[in-house]
Amino acid sequence: MTSALTLRELTVAYGSEPVVRGVSLQVAPDEVVALLGPSGSGKSTLLAAVAGFIEPREGQVLLRGEVVSGPGHSVPPEDRDVAVVFQHYALWPHLTAAETVAYPLRRRGVGAGEARRAATALLARVGLGELAGRRPAELSGGQQQRVGLARALAREPSLYLFDEPTAHLDTALRASLTEELSEQRRLRGAAALYATHDAAEALAVADQVVLLREGRIAQIGRPAEVYEEPSDLWSAALTGPASVLDIPAGEAVSGKVTLRVGEETVRVPGGSAAGLRPADGAVLVRPEWAGLGGRLSGVVRQVRYRGPYTDYRLRTPAGTVDVRGAGTPSVAVGDAVTWDLQRVWISARS
């Protein structure tokens, strides 16, 4: 099956400074790939190169097997089978919501009347049926981005490009819009490249997650892989909270890791990043991989109640460790407690 998108050794530069460096990537049809990275990691630039807004310096962009960007060859954005949802919405201030959504249809040669009907229907589908006559200035941020989504849907592309579409929205709105985006895309059965700096969002929406670090791919894998098996400490920190144990790993064989914590020797499920000697790596513990109660000892330094669960920061023979417990706090700061490990992961230090 032909990939919806293929990047081959893509390098994009502004002036002399490369922003995307030698990125290779495949997005299957009907697959959502998240680009996860901090600001300045090259996510938006990569999307701009796929959309055809900027020309790469080296490498190729292929859409459904066809080269659209390559040395001396560039298909203009309007002739690429992609739709873009922009971070700052990019709604045209002089057009109403209906005119905005009708715009891609009109460019495709759809008649004015039919385009208006189709646009109104699309707006109704994203919950904006009542507001079709409004201009961007009369819409809230969430409503504006729904118009942006409807405009992209009207394009009926085989690949959606989402450029941090929820970055400027409130947390509550963010969740509902993210759901809306995935749902609408799924209904259309198109592929998507979804840039975000929010790990939870990336893990939730994507089939594959690409971690971008200074324009290079740091790690790529299924959401569970990048979360549970980060290749290094940077990837681990990007994808969620993790403690680094202040002890060396003994050995990692057949899915078990042996550790010496204070007086105790523990053998827990886990593993190590590919090609890494356990003794050279850092021992990572996600908060939910550890819990109160067990044979290890520690002292409570901090208690953070977060609603569904409570995080405890412990001082232990293996250094400072964050562990998670269900429900309301069961111990107080200063208490001597016992705790245990359910899983660890050994990743490279840098």
Binding site: A13, Y14, G15, V19, S39, S44, T45, A48, A51, G52, F53, I54, E55, P76, P77, E78, R80, V82, A83, V84, F86, Q87, H88, A90, L91, W92, P93, H94, Y103, P104, R107, R108, R151, A154, R155, L161, D163
Partner: protein, 537 residues
């Protein structure tokens, strides 16, 4: 205390602008139909009006086309040396218009630099064609400023990209997205270009008058300064009030206030700004244009100023500083001192008035006053000078004080705009944070507001100083023996035919103005850095 400040600002507005204009319209209105008909008997005055309207119309069309194209080239293309190119396009704005006219004469006129070097002489540099061309060169940057600002702030690159990825070709995206978004800016730029052109005096005086081409402003000048009959005075009154009504109605209709206030603010370019690898030829065309219209003429003027005598080849062997010595030693020296003093007095007073209005910004009565101060900048200098002469001439005729009043009336808006713009960009949270940290209102203004506004205040002072330094329209109508400004001396010397000394003085003046402009641009960069919101996106 606040009420006192409002009264003071209102009184200043009334005395500087309201009273003189009322005197002008009163005098014009009391002339009677018969007198007006008599004054406009014959075709000369009517032809001046027709020439002015024609010039205004043609220059506006050319400037809108040129300014918009230049803005697209620098903001959307990928020219070499973008920021230098921006400066080159804006250069005519900081060269005093009458100096630009002088320099065009020296570059492209009979026996000019291009004539000397290549045997080429542009026909009609002295005449309507020359007047229109130099006024267009001066008006292009006005349109450019407004349109480039709109391209950066209103028509963000993302909006065009959204159109492209919705299936629009580059041309369709321009027609359906960019152009509609630029329309208000283009209209405002056109109004600015038109008003500036019909108000222009220096260029038609230098390039038009010798060829017998008369505009409303040069007609007012010759009727007021050289004619003594009552019909000439009636004409002055009618032409001046007509010019005021024309420009104010154009400015009012186009509502250029916002455009005037905006300047070049950038919102940052999401996704990295212009497309790298775009065509380079628009930039090359623009460079050629800037070289031919500004740099080469100024170079010609400098060469005339430093070459021993007219007709000698402008080579180092023939260079001398003698003309500069003659210029400063003669009438030029005292006139330079007078111009500097006038400009400093005007700048300092405007600074105080501007700060006062800014402080009143959110008070009742503050806003109409600010609007009025801004509109006064559109009042033609010629008409304002006539109005000031009518109002204060009886007591202050032939004094520097009379010229100073006219400067204050005209330039108040400039200073106010700069200060109010910076104050408006200052987020209110900065002052709130000071109050929440325990500072009283006065302490907040002293420790937070004023320090952040300092570059803007310096900028406002410098803008008014520069305009005052090279002002020619009003001072040439208001000067008397012993109150000639530098610009007046330059114009008069030129009429006497002393070309090299004229050139030397003009070079001296332009050098001072360019130096001041460099300082100004440093100040405004600092001001923007200090007062622009950093959102780090």
């Amino acid at each position: 205390m606040l009420r006192g400040a409002i009264v003071l600002a209102a009184a200043a507005a009334l005395l500087l602008v309201g009273f003189p204009l009322a005197e002008l319209f009163g005098a014009a209105g009391s002339q009677g139909l018969a007198a007006v008909a008599g004054a406009f008997h014959g075709t000369a005055a009517a032809r001046a009006v027709a020439t002015t309207l024609l010039t205004g119309g043609v220059v506006t069309v050319l400037a809108v086309l040129g300014g918009t194209a230049a803005a697209l080239a620098t903001e959307r293309g990928a020219p070499r040396g973008r920021s230098w190119l921006r400066g080159a396009v804006l250069l005519p704005l900081v060269v005093p218009p009458f100096v630009a006219a002088l320099s065009w004469g020296q570059a492209y006129g009979p026996a000019g630099l291009v004539d000397d070097l290549l045997g080429l002489e542009l026909p009609g540099v002295y005449g309507l064609a020359g007047v229109v061309t130099v006024l267009t060169v001066h008006a292009v940057p006005l349109v450019y400023l407004v349109v480039a600002a709109a391209l950066a702030s209103r028509a963000e690159p993302d909006l065009e990209r959204a159109a492209r990825s919705s299936g629009a070709s580059a041309a369709t995206a321009f027609r359906t997205v960019t152009l509609p978004l630029l329309r208000p800016a283009i209209i405002a730029g056109a109004a600015l270009a038109f008003v500036t052109t019909v108000n222009a005096f220096g260029v038609p005086a230098v390039l038009g008058t010798p060829a017998g081409v008369t505009t409303v402003t040069t007609r007012i000048y010759s009727d007021l300064v050289f004619a003594a009959d009552p019909e000439a005075f009636t004409r002055v009154l009618v032409l001046a009030s007509g010019l005021v009504l024309l420009t104010l109605s154009v400015v009012g209709a186009a509502d250029v206030r916002d455009a005037l206030g905006s300047g070049l603010t950038r919102t940052g370019a999401p996704l990295g700004g212009a497309v790298p690898g775009g065509p380079r030829w628009p930039g090359a065309v623009l460079w050629t244009y800037a070289l031919a219209t500004s740099v080469l003429p100024l170079l010609a003027l400098v060469l005339v100023g430093i070459t021993r005598a007219l007709g000698l080849a402008p080579v180092p062997a023939n260079w001398t500083l003698g003309h500069f010595r003659t210029a400063v030693g003669g009438l030029g020296g005292p006139a330079l001192v007078r111009s500097l003093l006038l400009a400093m007095a005007a700048a300092t007073t405007v600074l105080l008035l501007g700060a006062l209005l800014t402080a009143l910004r959110r008070q009742r009565g503050g806003k109409p006053l600010a609007t009025m101060a801004t509109l006064t900048f559109a009042v033609p200098g010629s008409a304002l000078a006539v109005a000031v002469l009518l109002a204060y001439g009886p007591w202050l005729r032939d004094t520097l004080a009379l010229i100073l009043i006219a400067y204050l009336a005209k330039f108040w808006a400039l200073g106010h705009r700069t200060i109010a713009g910076a104050a408006g960009r200052q987020p209110p949270e900065l002052a709130w944070a000071a109050r929440a940290s325990g500072a009283g209102p006065a302490t907040t203004v002293r420790t937070i507001t004023i320090p952040l506004l300092l570059p803007a205040l310096a900028g406002a002072w410098l803008v008014v100083f520069l305009f005052g330094l090279h002002e020619v329209t009003m001072s040439s109508l208001l000067y008397g023996p012993g109150s000639e400004t530098l610009a007046v001396v330059i114009l008069n010397l030129r009429q006497l035919g002393d070309v090299p000394v004229t050139a030397a003085l003009a070079v001296l003046l332009t050098g001072l103005v360019l130096l001041g402009t460099a300082l100004l641009s440093a100040a405004s960069r600092t001001s923007r850095r200090l007062t622009t919101h950093q959102d780090g996106a």
